[in-house]
Symmetry: C2
Subunit: 172 residues, 2 copies
């Protein structure tokens, strides 16, 4: 079973991202626009309860925070991915690091964590450059509050289905 821990952006940002994803992202119909915090592959059906307990525990001590998407970037040549990038990645990276404390040991991730909202992937190299050149001139400024994370799992048809949300408690 594949589990995913994600942040879904606001409706405004999801709609904006989908306008590009529908043309450039083959995962467009498998999951709404999202920022992946962590993906877990497991053969252990009981791991779901374990992840829920962990996420309840971690999120209970976190507070909501603001993020701003301010440009389009890409992972070329590592990956032919175009994404909405954050002005300041630190709050999302903190969330990722908190999530990893106590998380089931895993192999060293292939790349350092870079929070991103994918709007295009599996692109041909010249296609990637064309799209990127076009989008990087756009004035992008989307601010939103991250006040919840979502635990999803993947069905046989590769679509991701929601299992549980974890709301970050408001500051006292």
């Amino acid at each position: 079973m594949n589990y995913g821990i994600v942040v879904f952006p606001s409706k405004e940002i999801q709609d904006f991202a989908n306008n590009h994803r529908k043309r450039y992202d083959p995962h467009y119909k498998l999951i709404p626009p999202h920022i992946t915090i962590k993906k877990i592959e497991s053969n252990d059906e009981n791991q779901l309860d374990e992840i829920v307990t962990l996420l309840e525990d971690v999120t209970s001590s976190l507070s909501p925070f603001e993020i701003t998407f301010n440009r389009v970037s890409n992972f070329f040549p590592l990956n032919n991915v175009i994404y909405l990038a954050l002005e300041d990645t630190e709050p999302m990276t903190n969330l990722y690091e908190e999530m990893n404390k106590g998380m089931i040991k895993e192999e060293q991730p292939r790349y350092p964590f870079t929070p991103h909202l994918t709007i295009g992937q599996n692109l041909m190299e010249d296609e990637l450059f064309d799209i990127f050149a076009n989008l990087k001139s756009q004035n992008i400024q989307y601010r939103m509050k991250v006040d919840r994370i979502h635990l999803l799992y993947q069905l046989e048809n590769e679509v991701w289905t929601a299992y549980q949300s974890f709301v970050l408690p408001k500051e006292k």
Copy 2:
């Protein structure tokens, strides 16, 4: 904005339903298999917070319950829909009724609430009868626990995105 309050069945049932939905349900790519408790159309962007508060309140006093899908049924001639039906609809109907207490006033629903998991819709009449004849001979027996409901909202591209889950507290 369109809001939906749904129950997502277990992975096993979602996978089974999708095997049929991919051929017979045009909403296959818009939302994973689900039982709709309530759909709310609203022009009021602030209504989301109101619905969340209401659902937190309602679910806090409910306990998880078991349901069994035991056959395929249809809504013909009212609607050309084929669905997985419940052995006993009472627990889901109770949930629906609890949900309606204190819910924003609405027009009288067109049909009485009949909990169902759609596996085919918008079917031609002869197609509906063919599929139904084929499926009704299958031995269907899927038992699951309903221990959470999900609040979703609909994006511009008609896909439903998860906003919040509400776990039904375990009995003391």
